[in-house]
Symmetry: C2
Subunit: 257 residues, 2 copies
Amino acid sequence: MSSFGKIASLRHPVAINLADRPSASACEDCGARHLGLCDALSDEELVFLSSAAHRMTLPTGRLFLEEGDAAQFFYNVNSGTVRLFKALPDGRRQITGFAGPGHFIGLAATDMNVVSAETMEPVQLCRFSRAGMRAMFEEYPALERKLLDVAMHELVLSQQQMLLLGRKTALERIASFLLSWAQRQENCNTGKLPRPNAKLTLPLSRTDLADYLGLTIETVSRSLSALKKEGLIEIPNIHEVVLLRPQALENIAEAAN
Amino acid sequence: MSSFGKIASLRHPVAINLADRPSASACEDCGARHLGLCDALSDEELVFLSSAAHRMTLPTGRLFLEEGDAAQFFYNVNSGTVRLFKALPDGRRQITGFAGPGHFIGLAATDMNVVSAETMEPVQLCRFSRAGMRAMFEEYPALERKLLDVAMHELVLSQQQMLLLGRKTALERIASFLLSWAQRQENCNTGKLPRPNAKLTLPLSRTDLADYLGLTIETVSRSLSALKKEGLIEIPNIHEVVLLRPQALENIAEAAN
DNA sequence: CGCCTGCTTGATACAGCTCAATCCTTGTGG
DNA sequence: CCACAAGGATTGAGCTGTATCAAGCAGGCG
């Protein structure tokens, strides 16, 4: 996946006992310790990173980042899910992505935030000042390396999404989404299809789904119903989808033949 | 623009005479010397970078990067314009971006290219092996810093494009495109509107425009005609547009009131 | 139990697509 | 220098996929 690979050489072979160091134990307990950014860092680096982090817990539906505001912070999600979006003055909304455990927020920014961010569930995250982060790069180049990897991966996802939004039909969008969400869920990026009967958990509402796929909730609902009627999926409840025939979904998603 | 700013401290205050050093003079003459990536580097760094570069000249319409192939190289455009795109098996195409002088190609990739790239005019570019680039990061961290900046900027553009593709009307897409192309042309990113009567040069065909904006050529043509009839733009010829009333275009593009 | 919110389903409207004809620009050859 | 051909752009007419508007449905919570 990562074009620069793991930075194994930077990890200390000798374990450091961090139990008595408060700033480190914060990371030890963290749900995201072995995900994303944090997994790329040695224990020593984590201690340093942790000292610069402000840990926060937010309730559902909290808008903690607003498009147009000065960009002061980066965030790393520890638990829960966040939606990132842009909006037009008349209320039209485009969700540009979802950030779950281990995901990094704030790379898509200039001096101002270009997206807003809102929690979809109770969320725990670590907040870093952008200036502090920059300073850390001097000391810990692995951090910067990893951030470049993350940015490159997000670019790949963006390109996919542009194809989806610009050129795919409603049914193709839904099929594409289900498959990409499955990928994401079994973290990830094996490039393989999910196995038949794989069960997806969607923390998103139909409205979120519509705003992510550039459709209306009605069209989302109809498309899901169509896939159900064709026997490609099952919908036991509103937040779960079972992929009965992933290959058939793939054929629709990629407009094969 | 750049959230990490210029890396002024790394530039040598004392000029080095490079005239007699072949690998350096290649950069001295380059149209992109003071653009993008190359402008972020000191002369010393450029010499090194240049030694790793393979300079190429390609004719119009050359497909030099194909989606799905192993990602071996990065490219830096020196002159001309390149279109980057994804396609579906049935021929539907989504252009994800255009790369002109100073632009870097290849950040949106995993082990495989996820987009194809094709020249729209005669193009000069520098090619770098990805492995070589990675090695250079150790030696010249400014390079990596700059690459992260570039990636972040591309992410910002991607988010804008997702909003455009997912939620804007045909007229709004055209207006948005004209303004963003004006920004790009007067390199760039001042965030200000172009002055009235600003003249745009479009190296792209209507087909390219359609595939970039997620529309058909007919709709592109009709929307441009509509803007012309309303007196917001003038179209002296197929590759030029004059922005008579940028503010009015902005109001359309951003769906203001 | 019944309200409320979010989802589904149905009927209709319309923005943008498709198909088709014409126009314009540019390059070529007589 | 003009006639003509060819490819791209424009314009028109009708169609269609998705949006809009509206009515029912269901599951969760007080």
